[in-house]
């Protein structure tokens, strides 16, 4: 059965959905399976934001090569999000700083937020899904 057959619940309701990504890729499954939820959500015309904080920022690293651990490399899927109209990717400045990362290290364009900006973004969401 295809998820894409269930596009749009038909109600016309648009909610602010936020997907909270706080974990590094590969050490656990949450980055990969979290991304799969976001791709499905794209079919429902909701107001979707993806937020990356703490080790979640590592999901967006350039230069990921998972051949040695023999695990599927899904990092390029983040670049496909734009094609699904998922364009609101937010990254926590402090999490980047604590990990020695800058926007140049990331595989996609993101909006870097201060802690207050991110806190306000979170507070205004209708639905937050955490992985």
């Amino acid at each position: 059965m295809s998820d894409m057959d269930e596009m749009d619940d038909g109600s016309g309701v648009v909610k602010k959905f936020m997907f909270l990504n706080r974990k590094a890729p590969h050490g656990t499954v949450y980055a990969l399976e979290g991304l799969e939820v976001v791709l499905i959500t794209a079919a429902f015309d909701q107001d979707v934001s993806m937020v990356f904080t703490d080790d979640g920022v590592f999901q967006l690293m350039k230069g990921i090569d998972s051949k040695g651990i023999e695990v599927k490399d899904f990092s390029k899927t983040y670049r496909a999000l734009e094609g699904y109209d998922i364009e609101k990717l937010y990254v926590d400045q402090a999490s980047m700083d604590a990990r020695g990362l800058t926007e140049d290290d990331l595989i996609v364009d993101v909006t870097v937020l201060s802690v207050d900006e991110m806190a306000n973004l979170m507070a205004e969401q209708d639905v937050v899904i955490s992985f």
């Binding site: 703490d54 802690v115 639905v127």
Partner: protein, 99 residues
């Protein structure tokens, strides 16, 4: 917003991240292993007490009791049962789990 934290502050940075991001006037509910942070003498207690100035801090009673911590709850932390947990989710227009 209701923030829900479930892991011990000694094990995971989720409580710290939550307290950093929760806006003034929000509620934070500690469940499962996160309840330890709301007990006297815990390394995270000072952080919780400082946070209580701007946030409403709750801890799930059955999880405290299951861990032998029911008699050690910090002043200023509100203990709720599962009914209170449900009420908190209902009362806040949105909620976020810090896993």
């Amino acid at each position: 917003m209701l923030h829900i934290v479930n892991k011990s502050a000694a094990e995971r940075s989720s409580l710290e991240s939550c307290l950093r991001m929760a806006t003034k006037g929000s509620a934070v509910l500690l469940i499962e292993d996160a309840v330890y942070a709301a007990t006297n003498g815990n390394a995270a207690a000072a952080k919780i007490q400082a946070a209580a100035a701007d946030l409403k801090i709750y801890a799930l009673g059955p999880d405290l009791a299951a861990r032998g911590m029911a008699g050690r709850v910090l002043d200023g932390v509100n203990v709720v049962d599962y009914g209170g947990f449900v009420d908190l989710v209902a009362e806040h227009s949105n909620c976020q789990s810090w896993l």
